[in-house]
Amino acid sequence: MEFILAILIGIFYASGLYMMLRRSLVKLIIGLILIGNGANLLIFLLGRITKGLPPIIPGESPVFLKAYADPIPQALILTAIVISFGLQSFAIVLVKRAYSVVKTDDLDQMNSTDQFS
């Protein structure tokens, strides 16, 4: 499981970077979304994957008896997902607005703020 996830995360990061380096605005956003998902999966993987052992202390014992699944990475991922959801919706609106004002979706054409004036 860990091995497959590790490969998957690598693919997410690599394809995300590739998409970000394209000239199209839409591909840029898809790239950002892919990298974000890769980061979330990475947190999930690095929190150690433990199957079927919820972090609940049995009634009579004061401490955990067995190994347990770490709940923190899940809380972190949830937070990160909510944040990236907000950012992505903003990104899509911004790109749509930029497209209608600048009238191109080619990043190479959007260079007026870099030029000397």
Binding site: L76, T113, F116
Partner: protein, 507 residues
């Protein structure tokens, strides 16, 4: 409970921002609430600073959960100083925004978002939890996206796209770094991490995580190969927005770098060399970039990059005196950069252009205002009694001690270019004979404004100029403050103890 004062700078900004949201369409009320709220928050920041100065590091555990499990909020001298500086520039920019931002922008929620931005900054300075730091960074960047795009002009949207993409990318790298760090230590509390990271044997993974942090924060603070979003976007929004961005947004990245590399990743020669190299290149490339520009706001944008180099340099040299120099420079830079962008706003109000070729004759027309604007300009260079001089002195002395001669060369080069640029701006904008420019349609020139508006534009510049003068002439006090901060940063057991409590260390 004296400790709870740590949370007040955060709470007051939430309170102001929510109050402002309730007055959505009543722009006049918003202006009053924003300015009064900024005064209150300055008061709270001063109280927090004095308490921290007298009592030492203050800690609050959110929700009463003990240190490595819950989220801690820590106010050591460094954090308290930055909260104070944020409150000072926040107040100045709030008044300046009230005077210069167009009513159309104010109606679309400029002021509430501005206070959400200050909320994020205060949170980022006070938090003692690395994931919580990520969340505060997101609060900061989401508010800054809205501020940079509000108004929706063509240049703004283009600049915003670049700003937006690289800042989100930086956050993703930061998140990746947090993930790796959590994977190897199983902790998120920075004080706890400080102990656990030191004990880890697999130094390779620690270094991977450290370099990811450096890249993530490096993009946010505009370090050498990662800064290209900054000059492409900072000149596009209105000057009030540029002022708060230039003064504080890149500095929060620097704060995070200094915090992470003095608390968590300590004593790694490889990293220190990387940081020093980046600092040298940042100084040189920022200065060279500024040299060829004609737009004064773009010159200031490149100077932000150039001067980030000084602070990172101080961190890379590691010694206590060098870090004190970096902290002193940070204090001076926040005030001066905020003021410079407000000055550029005032120049735009007077002449209707940012281009050095068209500007001119300000000194003949407004001698007193020019004198006022000279203060931030010459503080920036660091003509001796003014504020930029003292930290550079400390940095150069320390580089000499380490016999890093090429770093001294970089520092002197950057200082010299800054001096040349300020002299150029002074002669082009102030001394050169003014051209007759075509009158802009529907533009309210400075001399046609009502007295109230003029005061709102000039008063914050005077205020920050006085703060700059105080930093320059009261350098003794600021140096004491910087030395104390550097002492706390280099001896980080103190921070760790106050967060975790004494028993935790013994175990």
């Amino acid at each position: 409970m004296i400790q709870h004062i740590v949370l007040y700078p955060i709470l007051i900004q939430v309170f102001i921002a929510i109050l402002l949201l309730f007055c959505w369409s009543r722009v006049h009320w918003q202006k009053v609430i924003s300015v009064v709220g900024s005064f209150l928050s300055l008061g709270i920041a001063i109280i927090l600073f004095i308490t921290t100065w007298n009592e030492g590091t203050l800690t609050v555990q959110a929700g009463g959960w003990d240190a490595p499990f819950g989220i801690s909020f820590v106010s050591d001298t460094f954090a308290a100083t930055l909260i104070l500086l944020t409150a000072i520039s926040g107040l100045a920019v709030s008044v300046f925004s009230v005077g210069t931002i167009l009513p159309a922008r104010l109606k679309f929620g400029y002021l509430p978002i501005f206070h959400f931005l200050l909320l994020g900054l205060n949170g980022a300075f006070l938090t003692g939890d690395i994931f919580n730091l990520y969340v505060w960074f997101e609060v900061i960047i989401i508010s800054s996206f809205v501020l940079i795009t509000i108004g929706g002009e063509k240049a703004q949207l283009e600049g915003a796209l670049k700003y937006f993409t690289l800042n989100i990318f930086a956050s993703m790298i930061f998140l990746t770094a947090v993930a790796v760090l959590y994977g190897i230590t199983g902790s998120l509390n920075m004080a706890d991490l400080s102990i656990k990271v030191a004990a880890i044997e697999n130094r390779g993974l620690v270094e991977v995580s450290a370099v990811l942090f450096l890249i993530g924060f490096g993009i946010k603070s505009a370090l050498f190969p990662l800064y290209f979003w900054l000059p492409a976007s900072y000149h596009t929004p209105p000057p009030a927005v540029s002022a708060i961005f230039g003064g504080l947004l890149t500095k929060v990245g620097v704060y995070a770098i200094i915090r992470v590399f003095t608390l968590i990743f300590v004593g790694d020669v490889f990293l220190e060399n990387i940081i020093l190299t980046l600092a040298g290149f940042t100084l040189v490339s920022g200065a060279l970039g500024a040299l060829v520009q004609n737009n004064i706001v773009k010159i200031f944008s490149y100077l932000i990059i150039c001067h980030i180099g000084y602070m990172i340099l101080g961190l890379g040299l590691v010694s206590e005196l060098a870090i004190a120099g970096a902290v002193f420079y940070l204090i001076h830079d926040i005030i001066v950069k905020t003021n410079l962008f407000m000055v550029s706003g005032l120049i735009y109000r007077i002449k209707g252009t940012f281009s050095m070729r068209d500007l001119g004759g300000l000194y003949a027309k407004y001698p007193l205002l020019s004198l006022l604007m000279a203060i931030p300009f010459f503080s920036l260079v660091g003509i001796p009694p003014l504020s930029g001089f003292w930290p550079k002195l400390a940095l150069i002395t320390e580089s000499f001690k380490m016999s890093n001669y090429w770093l001294i060369a970089a520092v002197l080069f950057a200082t010299f270019i800054t001096f040349y640029l300020i002299a150029k701006i002074w002669s082009e904008v102030f001394w050169k004979e003014g051209k007759v420019l075509p009158k802009l349609y529907n533009f309210r020139y400075f001399d046609k404004l009502k007295l109230e508006k003029k005061v709102q534009i000039v008063a914050p510049i005077i205020f920050l100029a006085f703060v700059s003068l105080f930093i320059g002439f009261g350098a003794e006090y600021i140096q004491q403050l910087a030395l104390r901060v550097a002492n706390e940063l280099t001896n980080n057991q103190h921070y760790v103890q106050s967060v975790l409590g004494k028993q935790m260390i013994a175990n």
